[in-house]
């Protein structure tokens, strides 16, 4: 039943499994149970999925209440296609380890870049001072 044709409404997404991308970069997968006018979400049986390269790991989180403004996007998960993917599922420890490694590598490359830039007398403004909007 189409409650509001022509609009973007989450009403029809209730009780369906969704993937939610948050502004801080986290990916949550859970069943959307409740919404409100600000698109605050209540996710049930939520799992935080961490992706590193072609691997991913799930951390079960339980119930999430997400403030609407922190959502980048969300979309329904096709249960048929969900398991039909190229990505390889690994254990939580492994994925966290991979994430750590990736973070370190990124930091290292950033450091080198900054050093190279400094040597040439340039300067790049740090992004962390900027607002994340």
């Amino acid at each position: 039943m189409n409650y509001m044709p022509g609009t973007a409404s989450l009403i029809e997404d209730i009780d369906k499994k969704h993937l939610v991308l948050l502004r801080d970069g986290r990916t949550l997968i859970g069943i959307l149970r409740s919404i409100d006018q600000f698109a605050n979400l209540v996710l049930h049986q939520t799992v935080e999925r961490i992706h590193v390269g072609k691997k991913f790991g799930d951390i079960p989180r339980g119930i999430f209440v997400v403030r609407g403004e922190n959502v980048v996007l969300l979309g329904e998960v096709d249960l048929d296609k969900e398991y039909d993917q190229i990505l390889q599922r690994v254990s939580i420890e492994e994925i966290l380890e991979e994430q750590r490694t990736e973070q370190q590598a990124k930091q290292e490359s950033e450091r080198l870049k900054l050093q190279a830039v400094k040597e040439r007398g340039l300067s790049i403004p740090k992004a962390d001072t900027l607002d994340d909007f």
Partner: protein, 683 residues
């Protein structure tokens, strides 16, 4: 009440002091729960219905099952107090199913101890209870009955015992109501109390605190031990589905789902505080039940109530997903309504342009398909939002006659009026110009709305079929266009006497004129063209934003409609020397994209006119001027480096070929090509 509990219970007693001692805790929490009162009232009404039924059913039972004082839950409280339950002659209707009581009827309710009641109070009946609850803290707790009930229904996930830590046990007990209703009835319906009863039945010693909830903690384990939890609000179950007592084979749903939409609405209302998942005491109570006995036969009214209440939640098969109805239809409707309100608008085509456009295209496509194929036209669902009446305009400034100054009016748009500060002026020489620029800019911005209306009306004119309507629209358009024209021409900057210049010097003004030009009469548009041409140097030099090209398309359209003599007049401007410099507009134009493009456009139009078969009505001397201009232009173009024009008309070289020798043409061609980067195609 289980018999087994009694031996354990007899010995225990809650010291009198403990309960009132912690009363201050309760009162502290009391104030927080005031806002729940309305919700609770609703639930109270509902409960009254239930009570009526129960009284009929269970009151009878009580009469029949003589020494079953447990039938009166009220007794439970006092049982502990005096350890000698006596049947109530006029018991307040027990909120919970008396079936447990009746099932334990051969019981020693007397020996059952209500751990939380002060001991040593022999009185039964209201007086006794009144005494019991004279303690204001106690009263508060009791009055919190509805909140408990709501929480009871609000069970989210009982399976996670970790939630117990989070529970603020005080909150759900503390829901004081402003009314000073006798707590009597409430007590009976107080789930917590019932729960404690149940607890006591299970032999768990409740901690000596009014904190009902913490004793609940063991419930989780008990539940696990006892089997499938009881789904749904305890109250409901007790009243409506005693059958549930009999069927522990109910799927072990960890979250009792509220049944009634009303309750759900209450529990998820915006102003109802919800603690973390709360384990319902109902489960334990249920688990302790034996055969419901007399309750197995539903009262017909009860049956009706049941069916009514149960119809609504079951929209789609939800048996596989126990959490599926967390959000009720009522809540969904509420959100939809809210979103609809946000979509209301006076002019949907303006406010919701993309949706309207999209829908129109869909309709057009469908209409087309309908014509082509003979299929049934499926009306795509359209969101129709009601038009709103214009909101009363607010007056931000209220000036009372005879008063000095203004009264600050707070509205939702301007909650705090800013003080009218006089800002210090910058340097004098810039101030005037800047201020005037700002004035012009503000005029332009106000006129933009008029322009938008013109465009809107124009669009509607194309779609509307009614002749009168069309005429009216046209009049409307014309009126507005005139208004725009007059306003724009009048805006004069201090140092320019020319019309339109002030708005042409501002980028917004340029784009506005560009949009206005199609609506203007030929004379008016010609006038603007001549103004532009005459003031080209000024415009070009002051065009820091490079916004001039925005005028090109509209001016091109104007040029294309020019007659020869008009064209000549405009072209003459190019070759005439400027009053204050040696350059001609021509030389300057060569360095400016817009200028050059304008020149090319003019030349192209001339060429088109000449080469076409249409009769021209040249004035005297036109052709000479034309030839002169062409030569002049050609010379200039071949000598100076040119910038890339916006558009290079294809017939320019033809024109030059006609008048100039091959060498010059070749040179010209090279020059122009080098600027544009593509060939100026010669026909």
């Amino acid at each position: 009440m289980g018999d087994s509990e009694h031996p354990e219970k007899t010995g225990e007693s809650v010291p009198d002091a403990s309960w009132p001692e912690n009363g201050d805790q309760w009162s502290d929490k009391g104030e927080e729960e005031d806002d729940e009162c309305e919700l609770l009232q609703e639930m109270a009404e509902e409960d009254e219905e239930i009570d009526l039924y129960n009284e009929e059913t269970f009151g009878l039972d009580e009469a029949t099952s003589g020494d079953n004082p447990a039938a009166d839950p009220m007794d439970l409280l006092l049982l502990c107090s005096d350890n000698s339950p006596t049947p109530q002659s006029s018991p307040p209707p027990p909120p919970i199913s008396p079936s447990p009581h009746s099932s334990h009827s051969p019981s020693r309710p007397g020996s059952r101890v209500w751990p939380h009641t002060p001991t040593g109070r022999p009185q039964r009946g209201r007086a006794g209870r009144g005494q019991l609850f004279d303690d204001p803290a106690v009263v508060k707790t009791v009055e919190g009955r509805p909140s408990l009930k709501s929480l009871d229904s609000a069970i989210v996930d009982c399976s996670l015992s970790s939630y117990w830590e989070d529970l603020n046990s005080n909150t759900w007990m503390m829901a004081p109501q402003k009314s000073s209703r006798p707590p009597v009835a409430s007590i009976l319906q107080d789930q917590a109390i019932v729960g404690v009863i149940d607890r006591s039945r299970h032999g768990r010693v409740p901690p000596v605190s009014p904190n009902f909830l913490s004793p609940m903690r063991p419930f989780s384990t008990s539940r696990g031990r006892r089997g499938p939890p009881f789904v749904g609000s305890f109250n409901q179950r007790c009243h409506y589905q005693p059958g549930g007592f009999l069927s522990p084979s109910r799927p072990p749903l960890s979250t009792p789902m509220p049944h009634t939409p009303k309750l759900m609405h209450l529990q998820f209302g915006t102003d109802s505080p919800r603690p973390a998942p709360f384990y319902s005491p109902s489960t334990n109570i249920m688990q302790g039940f034996r055969a419901p006995g007399p309750v197995a036969q539903f009262h017909p009214q009860h049956k009706r109530l049941l069916s009514q209440r149960q119809q609504r939640p079951h929209r789609k098969p939800v048996s596989w997903d126990p959490y599926s109805q967390i959000m009720t239809d009522k809540e969904k409707e509420w959100i939809i309504r809210l979103q609809m309100i946000q979509l209301q608008s006076k002019n949907p085509h303006l406010d919701d342009y993309y949706y309207q456009e999209y829908y129109q295209r869909i309709e057009a496509k469908l209409a087309e398909e309908e014509i082509l194929g003979d299929r049934l036209k499926k009306e795509p669902p359209k969101l129709t939002t009601p038009y709103v009446t214009k909101a009363l305009s607010y007056i931000p400034v209220v000036h009372i006659e005879g008063s000095l100054g203004q009264v600050a009016v707070s509205t939702c748009f301007s909650p705090r009026r800013a003080i009218d500060a006089v800002h210090a002026n910058t340097s004098d020489e810039h101030r005037d110009t800047r201020r005037q620029r700002l004035e012009v800019l503000s005029t332009i911005e106000k006129l933009y709305i008029v322009l938008l209306e013109v465009e809107e009306a124009n669009k509607m004119k194309a779609t509307v079929s009614d002749k009168d309507e069309e005429r009216r629209l046209m009049q409307n358009i014309k009126r507005k266009v005139d208004q725009l024209y007059n306003e724009l021409r009048c805006t004069n900057l201090l140092d320019s006497g020319e019309e339109f210049i002030s708005c042409l010097l501002i980028s917004k003004g340029k784009s506005m004129l560009a949009r206005l030009l199609p609506f203007l009469s030929p004379d008016a548009s010609l006038h603007i063209l001549s103004v532009v041409t005459k003031n080209l140097p000024v415009l070009m030099s002051k065009d820091t934003d490079e916004a001039l090209p925005v005028l090109y398309p509209s001016l091109r359209a104007v040029i294309d409609r020019l007659a020869f003599s008009q064209l000549i007049r405009n072209l003459k401007e190019f070759t005439a020397t400027l009053p204050d410099s040696k350059d001609t507009r021509l030389t300057l134009a060569c360095q400016n994209k817009f200028g050059l493009s304008l020149l090319y456009a003019l030349l192209s139009q001339g060429e088109r006119l000449l080469s076409s078969d249409l009769p021209m009505e040249p004035s005297i001397g036109d052709f000479e001027t034309w030839t002169d201009t062409v030569f002049h232009v050609a010379r200039q173009l071949s000598q100076t480096t040119l910038v890339e024009p916006l558009l290079l008309p294809s017939n320019l070289l033809t024109l030059f070929c006609r008048y100039l020798d091959k060498r010059t043409v070749h040179q010209l061609k090279n020059n122009m090509e080098s600027a544009t980067g593509y060939l100026a195609v010669a026909s």
